[in-house]
Symmetry: C2
């Protein structure tokens, strides 16, 4: 295992310390329990958005803490759910008196721990569950569909809604709407290596890929021979469209997300393929995001995410955001 | 070779097409000859900044075309210099009547082709040569030192200077100043695969790393056993400081750059190590940038870049920028 680490047990603390130092203008890091919060206090009356999950998906979630997105993020160890004490401490630290919206990717451990935190934390709260991955129903760590790269789209749109003053009930409804209009599917060319394990999570043959892979390297739909970018994009967008069933002429947000080990050059090529296929199917790619936003450490591969847009969601996407990993408009 | 491609011969065109489509609000792509330019016309009297080089280092350079950075970028094939006709066409397309500043990484092919273009293109021009890599004097593709991740720092600061109305002579002097105050060093854990070659550029043992590696995987100083993040950061910052010889109390910009295949989590950990070491040496880390900005396809590894700051350079760094890969202040 070749990684930039000192001791496997220290990577989360050391990495977060560096993250906090590099972005000291935007965030503050707390340890024991561990969470990342906005540096600026929550304005009174603003609903706070808190997400979290296992580490190893950076910039998700800590990279999205800041104006127009999250108020706090709770990172667990690599690919391990954060614990309720982290979530409770984060909620107490950023509370604005108007309630907490938890944004949770659908993995059994995350769901259980966020539920426990929600029961124990003070104040009003609601939860938006992200289930955008169309690849499989149920999987290694999930009952139902997995939450993957669509999570950051929900975090962006909900963050804009919270800044605009929506109350908790309105944000919960908005979150369910965004989650309901978002679908993803991924593919992997190689495994990542979880530091504590020290060896690849899975192995693929020289000419194999894992179609429908999860963001922890968990199995997808099937292992198939390597195909052209066009054919891969065709299968992924096909699965998404079959499930999402958008109307002709529908405006969409197209997000091509790298898993960490695939060059940007290839991600833009895949974006081009996906955009062409979707437009041939009568959709209009109105907004785009290409890059490594929801990663699986150094896994080679990518996912495609489609969100159907309307005027409200487009406005929320375009609203100013200022976080370590996503910034526009201010 | 597992890559998202259709045909090896088409990757540059297909990837640039996707890039142009995803960032249609900011850039325009021309083919035959190939270059990327800002969508907005150059204001009369503004010096234009043009860079370029082999592809495979994305987001460098095309990702830095836009307000506050480059006016145009000329991408060659993967790890291959662009040709003079690309540069001449780019210069003609963006000319603002106040001259052209070429920003050139020091590789023999790039230097030769930019020199030919400069001789043939119309109007006043000057060239800033980037030679920030302290690892080696001369190398596979270079006489003298290589230009690496410091290039984007020069592009950012020069871009701000050009927006502020500096004339060609002042920008040339500024570029030489930034280049003279910037040093980098890299390390690789694995090789990338150049698509046209189809196999790794070099091989490393399971416990080996290439200290001082170039951004094309070309050899560095020595092949050594894997070490802790602390020891790696210590060797890299040591080499940089020995050459840069900053005064105690000096403010610096610290840039930890991923080569494409290393998780963000590890880059922040390396940033923390480097920042600690530099501050113990009496320096003040005043500005920071962590992420994949000057890549070598999917190579695992990173580089550390230090630029000594003064009031002018800090102001130029902080000035608004709006490009596909770097954005703040607007």
């Amino acid at each position: 295992m070749k990684k930039f680490i000192n001791d496997v047990d220290d990577i989360l603390v050391e990495s977060l310390t560096g993250f906090g130092r590099a972005h000291a203008d935007l965030v503050e890091i707390s340890f024991d329990p561990t969470f990342v919060r906005r540096k600026t206090p929550t304005p009174a009356g603003k609903v706070v958005l808190i997400s979290g999950g296992g580490s190893g998906h950076e910039p998700l979630h800590a990279g999205f803490v800041g104006h127009g997105m999250l108020d706090a993020a709770c990172p667990g160890h690599v690919f391990t759910s954060p614990t309720p004490d982290q979530m409770i401490a984060a909620a107490a630290a950023v509370d604005g008196g108007a309630g907490t919206l938890w944004i949770v990717k659908n993995y059994s451990g995350d769901v259980m721990n966020f539920e426990m935190a929600a029961e124990m934390a003070e104040g009003e709260h609601a939860t938006v569950l992200i289930v955008d991955d169309v690849a499989v129903e149920n999987s290694s760590f999930t009952v139902g569909r997995r939450g993957v790269a669509g999570t950051m789209i929900a975090e962006k749109m909900l963050g804009a809604g919270a800044e605009a003053g929506l109350d908790l009930a309105a944000l919960k409804a908005l979150g369910d709407k965004v989650a309901g209009q978002t679908r993803s599917m991924g593919v992997a060319f190689s495994s990542c290596i979880v530091p504590a394990a020290g060896s690849p999570t899975f192995t693929l043959g020289d000419n194999e890929m894992e179609m429908g892979v999860g963001i922890h390297g968990e199995p997808g739909r099937r292992r198939v021979p390597l195909a052209s970018a066009h054919d891969i994009a065709d299968e992924m967008t096909g699965a998404i469209l079959q499930d999402l069933a958008p109307k002709a002429g529908q405006q969409i947000l197209l997000h091509v997300n790298g898993f960490g080990g695939t060059p940007l050059m290839e991600l833009y090529l895949m974006y081009d393929e996906a955009a062409q296929i979707l437009e041939k199917r009568g959709l209009k790619v109105a907004r785009s995001l290409v890059g490594n936003y929801t990663t699986s450490l150094e896994m080679a591969g990518c996912s495609i995410t489609v969100t159907t847009l309307d005027e409200q969601l487009t406005e929320l996407w375009d609203a100013p955001v200022h976080t370590p990993a996503l910034r526009w408009g201010r």
